[in-house]
Amino acid sequence: MNNIKHVIAREYFTRVKSKTFLLTTFLAPLAFIFFFGILGFLLSRGSDDEKKIAIIDNVGIVDKSQVERRNIKFDYSYNNLDQALKDYKEDKIEGVIVLPAIDINTERYEMIYHSDNQLAIDESESLKSMFRKKVRNYKIQKLGIDETQLKLIDTKIDLEPKTVVDKDKKISSITSAVSAGIGGFVGYALFFIIIIYGSQVMRSVTEEKINRIVEVLISTIKPFDLMMGKVIGVGLVGLTQITMWMILIVIFSTIGFSFFGPDAVESVAQTSPEIMAEVQNSAPEAKDKMASVIQEIVSISWFKILPLYLFYFLIGYFTYAALFAAIGSAVGDDIQEAQSLTMIATLPLVISMYIGFSAVTSPNSSLSVWSSILPFTAPVVMPVRLPLDPPLWQILLSMVVSILTVVILIWLAAKIYRVGILMYGKKASIKELFKWMTY
């Protein structure tokens, strides 16, 4: 048992001290932030070249005090098209928009943009949205509709849940959306983390088998201790890296946000005129929504959920690390064999990720419930359901089943491992693996 500590230490420190670890630990969150930063920056700038467009208004709806919108400058000085087109040919303006008379009896309104160069999609959307409001106001006025009445027609509908028996349970329509979001994200993250670190265990096992150091090791340490030392050591590396990532993402995003944060967020919203209109229309409402989302995130019982996430990370990791260790010991340097066996082993994980996606929208379907209890799928599906407050008996049953699965799998994996690591030049078929379990 004393020796297992040395194996854990070796697995942990050789990895943590390696350049790859430092790079992935620091660069991944940086890349994450950088990607969103760049995205925000690009969106906020839109097209960079300034355009001057003449507007010939035959209706009288434009507001001549508005001289620009984003990168487009408006020129209202032209009265007829010919004059404008003459300047267009002399490159004084980029194009001409002509507003024809408005027929209040039709839905459609066609403006013409005279130019040989098309507007970019975002430019054209932006202009359309600007004129949509002006035309709307014009129509309201002409039709003699009362604007306050019009607002009343436009009903906003909410469907609020209300608990019947459990009066203390706090729920709102936003709760389930936020919970589903968090659950989905965690399930997805767990899927990747389990695959990444599980395959590291496999690589570590095959390395020792291929370079034959295993023979020296096994003469001083029990195969079980060696395997568990590896699994635990790599698992600790995983925990370290995840913790670092969380800390770094918080730090980096704080820095990033204070740098060009609010602008970027606003400009992301601006890119879609639809959204912007919405935001402008219902700015207080959106703010309320944002606040309640944050409130929901805070009000999730993290003290209950975080330990459970840690639990399912460990369960998922141990389940698949044991499988990968067994596979690694059996195949050695036969990469093809390794690939096909790994594929079989990761299949349940991939399936559970898809079940996890469906569990986001229907957390209490029988598929979601049972796959969050059954072995192999539970470590991904249960974390998806956890923020949505599944019944306690399901959580407990899932935990018991998971622990039993891990114990049995490790026991079987150790049996395969023990034989596999000392076996050379023999093809490890699945039939062979079953035979090794009975040695």
Binding site: H6, V7, V216, S219, L422
Partner: protein
């Protein structure tokens, strides 16, 4: 008392018996040869002694005690297939292996530094293994095998891949360790090395011992009374008779086999009165290689 004592050891795999009722003793302080063709069961036997696998039947005693968890700390095992972590620094690697053998950290460090100084490789501590040549890796592996001062060393083909200089270096170290009381089991196919290094051997084939004993004794047992006589002059023509048989007749020497029931003195006296000058007279004993081929060859027919 012996450092290693095997009694009726059996190891059965699914469809073949790798070790079949093997018993032998390795005396304290000896250099003992464990010989056999490929697939004879040597590796299986070594794996049992090093507690990598367990015997199905029979008993193994190391230093008078049955095998247990602490046995490996008394054994230094250099496997035929060398292995080190390629990406790990030499020093860290040896520290790890030493700690597995039960050495404390400072102990491990001082032992490793001692060997590094001896092999003049002190500047290798921070090198990664894959920066070293194959011969250099062998040295590191040797240090890994002996650094915890085992009572019993098991060396499987320790010289394979070494140049003559490093071979001598390791050979000298083996002898020095042996003089200081370490018992050594030496497993190889290279019979000339066995004759040079080992005093006692067992030869196994198909899991069974087919030959064992002192090297000198074995060579005596397998000698065929062949003498090489170097001479000047003329070989007497009437020598060939019922007593002797000339195997080879060259200008300056002959090889003569003395048939059963006659002694070498009779040959000498038969030669001595003739018109020839005897310059040398040697008994030709078979080499271990010849005995090996004879024994293993016959069992394979």
């Amino acid at each position: 008392m012996s450092i290693l004592s095997l009694r009726n050891v059996v190891k059965q795999y699914h469809n073949h018996r790798a070790v079949d009722d093997v018993s032998f003793d390795v005396p304290y302080g000896s250099i003992f040869g464990l010989l056999g063709p490929n697939g004879a069961g040597k590796t299986s036997l070594i794996r049992i002694i090093t507690t990598i696998t367990a015997a199905d039947a029979g008993s193994v005693m190391v230093d008078g005690k049955p095998l247990d968890n602490l046995t490996p700390r008394q054994i230094g095992y250099l496997p035929e297939e060398r292995g080190l972590y390629k990406k790990m620094k030499v020093g860290d690697q040896l520290m790890f292996l030493a700690q597995l053998k039960g050495l404390s950290k400072p102990d491990a460090r001082s032992k490793i530094e001692h060997w590094f100084k001896k092999f003049e490789i002190s500047d290798w501590w921070n090198k990664k293994v894959d920066e070293l040549s194959k011969g250099m890796q062998q040295k590191v592996q040797f240090v890994a095998t002996v650094m915890h001062e085992p009572k019993l060393l098991i060396l499987d083909e320790p010289f394979s891949g070494l140049d003559p200089i490093n071979t001598n270096l390791i050979k000298d170290e083996i002898h020095r360790l042996n003089e200081n009381g370490t018992s050594i089991i030496f497993s190889t196919h290279r019979m000339e090395q066995v004759e040079e290094i080992c005093k006692e051997i067992v030869l196994i084939d198909k899991g069974r011992i087919i030959l064992e004993g002192q090297v000198d004794q074995i060579k005596n047992d397998y000698k065929e009374n062949i003498f090489r006589i170097g001479f000047r002059g003329k070989m007497p023509a009437n020598l060939i008779g019922s007593q002797f048989e000339i195997l080879r007749d060259e200008a300056d020497h002959v090889m003569i086999k003395i048939k059963d029931g006659y002694s070498s003195n009779e040959l000498l006296s038969a030669l001595i009165d003739h018109d020839m000058q005897i310059e040398s007279y040697n008994e030709i004993k078979p080499t271990l290689n010849e005995i090996f081929i004879r024994k293993v060859g016959s069992s394979h027919e």
